[in-house]
Symmetry: C2
DNA sequence: CTGTTAGCGCCTTCAC
DNA sequence: GTGAAGGCGCTAACAG
């Protein structure tokens, strides 16, 4: 292993440890050229690398942040991770990624673990279940940014999609295209956009555009039951367009479509909130309302690093990102 | 922040630091019940959490491994990460994920950075370009496992897909189904399965099954040129089946299919090496030869942790995983 | 310009 | 059963 320490380099170069320390921290304003070169050679010769654990202990900063995602298998998460990492990298910060799996206990363990490791801050896709922990972090002024989900009544900066706007965008696009009997399907658990809210927005829109007002058009079930719910919906009511509330709901709907030989958009039109990798390839290509995942990740990283550096701006702390309509052929 | 240290707890509980240390390391064999309880209360009261940076410095072990993937946006990577993390988690090891982006300089920086952070070992999807670094790690006996790609002449345990077998599987499935004029398309850069090797295997198979022997059926181009190559291929030769060498090549082929209104499998059959999220949803559902990503990730993690614990088994160091045929409707 | 001296927070003998 | 002392590798005054 790398057992060579600063003392070894100091001995080899014939100077003291602190001089080496100066050198590795590039503070050679007051260092003679000759010792500089001697140190450089000693380091190369011994293949010395500073131990960042020791440095962190002393400096009380690890130059590392933690990211806790709800599920790394989601494309949204990986895109967010990617952009966080790119941004941090450019500022010489490191990133530890953890996977809470939408499991509050895992989330708690990871938050504790990361703080024990003295990471300088945290970006979390919160489960919403560990309220005391969140509050404690606010109280102790620990730098945290939430992503994807907002926890009410908590003063933690949050980077979110404007869900309301996303639903509006979808409905209005469908209305423009002449569809009237619009259903909204989503799985119950994914993303914390409260049902009442969703219903409220949907009702507002339906009345605004003089569409049928019927709560039966709003379906919110566990993933596994979504297909059968769709079957029931289609037999009980006329439906000419469906909004998939997220990518998982979309997959269920597409499975149903396949099994029942439905033709989109002839039998019904389809629009999804969340783009998917095959959106453009599917037949017909899927019109979607996409989340700007990369921008959101970058924003979260920026916010967190600002906090870490102490540039708190307490005033604003909700960053709503606007969805983007990608028009393809499914409606 | 969490400024409370062991000394604080010791003072609060009226014992010495070392006693606290005993307690947090669960070595209370020789500790009186009363002090045990006092310490427990002190810890709870002060909300004490051990600083793992300090502990790591002392113990020379961080209980953390690093994972460097080639590109976190690939589904294969995320699945591997996921299973590595699950496994490590069960053994109280932590995981730092980094994204080398198939960029040798990034790879080098991350390897150095992670070692500076004193991670106990590394799982790497190697670019193959940093030979001296790899060799140095072998020489210094640093625990490393390679994944997805093998570097010749290097004694580092590697977890790989049996690429040769994957091609065989695809060809033989097509032959069974009666297809004769089979083309293999892959992007030049992805995955290190050398062209000569691929050609050799393909030729062996074509002669074995009395298929046309013609190197024109093997197309290997940069991603961007793959679509036009496919166009040329289809006009110059009769083709009744195509093997996509990986998921990226598959996407290009599917794009071509869409643009030219090709009907699969009537116009040509299609099989992909690598499953994709929409494999089952596409119309027709795509037959694929899948990589067992979760098993591969787990194996890599097991190997690495064994090495870290000193259970070296030098004898064997290539772990070839068998691909799995998932038969659907595209051939 | 460079060396000396104290720690950072924890762990580990070894006395008491 | 518990405490005192030294040290992990590095940094940060402050001398010299």
């Amino acid at each position: 292993m790398n057992k060579v320490t600063m003392a070894d380099v100091a001995a080899y170069a014939g100077v003291s440890k602190s001089t080496i320390s100066q050198y590795v921290n590039k503070r050679y304003k007051f260092m003679s050229e000759s010792t500089k070169i001697r140190i450089e050679e000693a380091i190369k010769e011994l293949n010395y690398r500073p131990n960042s654990v020791a440095r962190s202990l002393k400096q009380k900063s690890t130059f590392t942040i933690g990211v806790i995602v709800s599920n790394i298998l989601h494309a949204f998460s990986t895109q967010v991770i990617r952009s966080i990492e790119d941004y941090c990298n450019s500022l010489d910060f490191h990133v530890i990624v953890c996977n809470a799996d939408d499991n509050p206990e895992k989330e708690e363990r990871y938050i504790q673990m990361l703080r024990d490791k003295q990471v300088d801050g945290l970006i979390v896709f919160p489960t919403g279940e560990n309220l005391e922990l969140y509050e404690e972090m606010v109280k102790t002024n620990y730098p945290v940014v939430f992503l994807d989900r907002k926890i009410p009544d908590l003063k933690i900066s949050s980077v979110l999609l404007d869900n309301e706007q996303a639903v509006k965008m979808a409905v209005e696009h469908l209305v423009e295209k002449g569809y009237k009997k619009i259903a909204l399907m989503t799985n119950a658990l994914h993303r914390v956009f409260p049902r009442q809210e969703r219903v409220r927005v949907f009702k507002e829109l339906t009345s605004l555009h003089q569409l049928p007002i019927d709560e039966g058009y709003i379906v919110s079930r566990d993933l596994g039951q979504l297909k059968s719910s769709l079957g029931e919906l289609l037999t009980s009511k006329p439906v000419d367009a469906i909004i998939a509330g997220n990518d998982l709901a979309l997959l269920e709907i597409l499975n149903y479509v396949k099994e029942h030989h439905i033709v989109i958009p002839k039998d019904f039109a389809l629009i999804s909130i969340d783009d998917v990798s095959f959106g453009n390839l599917y037949n017909p290509a899927l019109t979607v309302v996409a989340q700007p995942a990369f921008e959101m990740g970058k924003k979260a990283a920026e916010l967190l690093l600002e906090k870490i550096k102490g540039d708190f701006k307490e005033e604003e702390h909700i960053y709503l990102f606007q969805p983007v309509l990608i028009e393809r052929d499914s409606c």
